[in-house]
């Protein structure tokens, strides 16, 4: 019975449920479902960087914004169609993420947190004050993408595009963390000096982690701009960063399933508190505190203890989940 409540079963059911939502739900629920999928992408990308590679970075919301602004501005200023502008916006976020691996080679812990936070604030400043390009605090409208010849209105097209992107990005992350790359991330997190002494190229793997995280946030940003048909700086501020962090802490650091669980939990809380906007930040701050103090490994750790199928080994497993660690060592 507990196997039926395993990670894979629930994730498959979740994807199936999300695919079915537009057939019976009203537009508001469809919109919330779409936002949930974008938050899953954001949380998975951030968890790769923070939870797996151990890089305490605070620029995820800025990367999200760069993806959204890159996509939107290319459409508005140069008339680039959405299907070319979106990959370009995501790629821009990835390249900026890659560039952040340089300071991350010299900085760690609090210093890296401060440097990335400063970068995030600088990005927000650019969004706000470079009015001739970014349209300033008021933001700008972006044209809705067309899904012709598919018989889909723009909102449903974006919904299914987000679902495809989320499924693909979670699957890619799942394969990466179980590969040599994922193990190198965890090695760097657990002991940077030891990892380096064993010949693990710190710059290469930090660049992969920052680049992946930037790409995920950029893709979420590109989808976000099409979801709202509007881009403005307030969607990418410090609150947004706290929200992403809260998702991975509540779900479980260093766990992809945790990213999904955290993003789902926080999106639902966000919606429940939408009527009381001013209480959202307090609620998230309190939630973060409670989890950091009483449940630092997140919801997923509790699930792992109680249910089979929530293990996340750092290697590919054939057969029964959880039977792998050490299996290769047997003569």
């Amino acid at each position: 019975m507990s196997r039926l409540l395993g990670r894979r079963t629930l994730l498959a059911l979740g994807v199936a449920a999300l695919a079915a939502v537009p057939t019976f739900a009203n537009p508001y629920v469809v919109f919330v479902g779409n936002q949930l999928m974008l938050y899953v992408i954001l949380a998975v990308g951030l968890n790769i960087l923070v939870g797996y590679a151990g890089q305490l970075a605070f620029a995820n919301a800025a990367m999200f914004g760069i993806g959204a602004y890159g996509t939107g501005l290319l459409q508005v200023h140069f008339g680039v169609p959405y299907y070319a502008a979106a990959p370009a916006g995501a790629l821009l976020a990835m390249l900026i993420g890659l560039a952040m691996a340089w300071p991350a080679l010299r900085l760690s812990g609090l210093y890296l947190a401060l440097a990335t936070l400063a970068f995030a604030q600088f990005t927000l400043w650019v969004f706000l004050h470079w009015e001739s390009v970014t349209f300033g605090a008021g933001g700008f409208k972006v044209p809705p993408p067309s899904f012709a010849p598919l018989p889909l209105p723009s909102n449903l097209g974006i919904y299914y595009l987000s679902l495809l992107a989320m499924a693909a990005l979670v699957a890619i992350a799942w394969n990466v963390v179980r590969s040599r790359i994922g193990r190198a991330f965890v090695a760097i997190r657990d002991g940077e000096v030891a990892a380096q002494a064993l010949g693990i190229d710190l710059f290469r793997y930090k660049a992969i982690a920052f680049g992946m995280s930037g790409l995920y946030a950029g893709i979420a940003g590109a989808l976000h701009s099409a979801l709202l048909n509007y881009v403005s700086p307030e969607g990418f501020d410090l609150f947004q960063m706290v929200l992403h962090k809260a998702m991975i802490v509540v779900g479980g650091l260093g766990s992809l399933a945790g990213s999904v669980v955290g993003a789902t939990t926080l999106t639902l809380i966000l919606e429940a508190l939408r009527e009381f906007k001013s209480t959202q930040e307090i609620a998230f701050g309190a939630l973060l505190l409670v989890f950091v103090i009483f449940m630092p490994d997140g919801i997923v750790a509790a699930l792992k203890q109680r249910l089979q199928g929530w293990e996340e080994p750092l290697r590919r497993v054939r057969g029964r989940p959880g039977a792998a660690a050490g299996a290769e060592a047997r003569p």
């Binding site: 965890v186 002991g191 030891a194 064993l198 260093g254 660690a325 003569p331």
Partner: protein, 234 residues
């Protein structure tokens, strides 16, 4: 096997190592001793590319390693067992061993290497699925050594392997080092514990303030009151 010549290392405006030269002959164990702050760990970090020297050469089997990146030096066959064990706490024993072979690609070789380590360290074989962070101090030290051996080093650099271990576990550690010696491995053993150096090494160098102050057979260290008093604070 390893020839270090006229090594000079500075941290900013402070000279840490001054004209350090020594050899580690093929298949031998050479100990490097000294008190806190004498420059022992800096030598190891320089040999493995974690610190760049200002001058000097580091020849491994005739190939220059000074100034290379850490991963390049590991590929050439010089691997460090870091101080304080530093196993990857959240990984299993086997996953730690796999990380030791991070510079190698052949999966059959990887499996053979893991089996070899399990034979060499039976305790690790019994706990292969266990998380490294839950092992005892001695087991973690064994794992750190086994992990470094997975890179198939020609020269193993060990940074204070006896630090923080109980006397019984230290004896086991010495046995393990001697077992590696019998396999023909060249070892540079950095230690504060004169007893460990005397029991395991063939020859020894004593560092003081970044310079080699004494060189001689390791077994003679315990009989040399001047070395014990002046350089090792005993």
């Amino acid at each position: 096997m390893l020839a270090v010549a006229h090594l000079n290392v500075w941290y900013g405006v402070t000279e840490i190592l001054r004209d350090v030269s020594f050899d580690v002959p093929d298949g031998r164990i050479v100990a490097l001793l000294g008190g806190n702050g004498s420059g022992k760990t800096t030598i190891l970090n320089t040999l493995t590319g974690l610190v760049k020297p200002r001058a000097g050469s580091v020849l491994l089997a005739g190939e220059e390693c000074a100034g290379l990146r850490a991963d390049q030096i590991v590929r050439k066959g010089m691997v460090q067992v870091p101080q304080g064990r530093e196993v990857f706490q959240s990984m299993s024993v086997v996953e730690n061993l796999e990380m030791g072979a991070a510079t190698r690609r052949d999966r059959a070789e990887l499996r053979a290497g893991i089996e070899d380590m399990m034979g060499l360290f039976p305790t690790l074989a019994r706990k292969s699925r266990q998380r490294a962070g839950s092992l005892s101090g001695g087991e973690q030290q064994m794992l750190a050594i086994a992990r470094a051996l997975m890179a198939r080093p020609r020269c193993l650099l060990m940074d204070e392997p006896s630090a923080g271990l109980s006397p019984v576990v230290v004896d086991t550690m010495i046995d393990a080092i001697l077992a590696l010696h019998r396999r023909g491995l060249t070892i540079l053993l950095v230690e504060q514990n004169v007893g460990v150096a005397a029991a395991a090494a063939d020859s020894a160098h004593v560092l003081q303030n970044g310079e080699i102050a004494f060189s001689g057979p390791a077994a003679s260290l315990l009989d040399n009151p001047e070395v014990l008093r002046s350089y090792l604070g005993r």
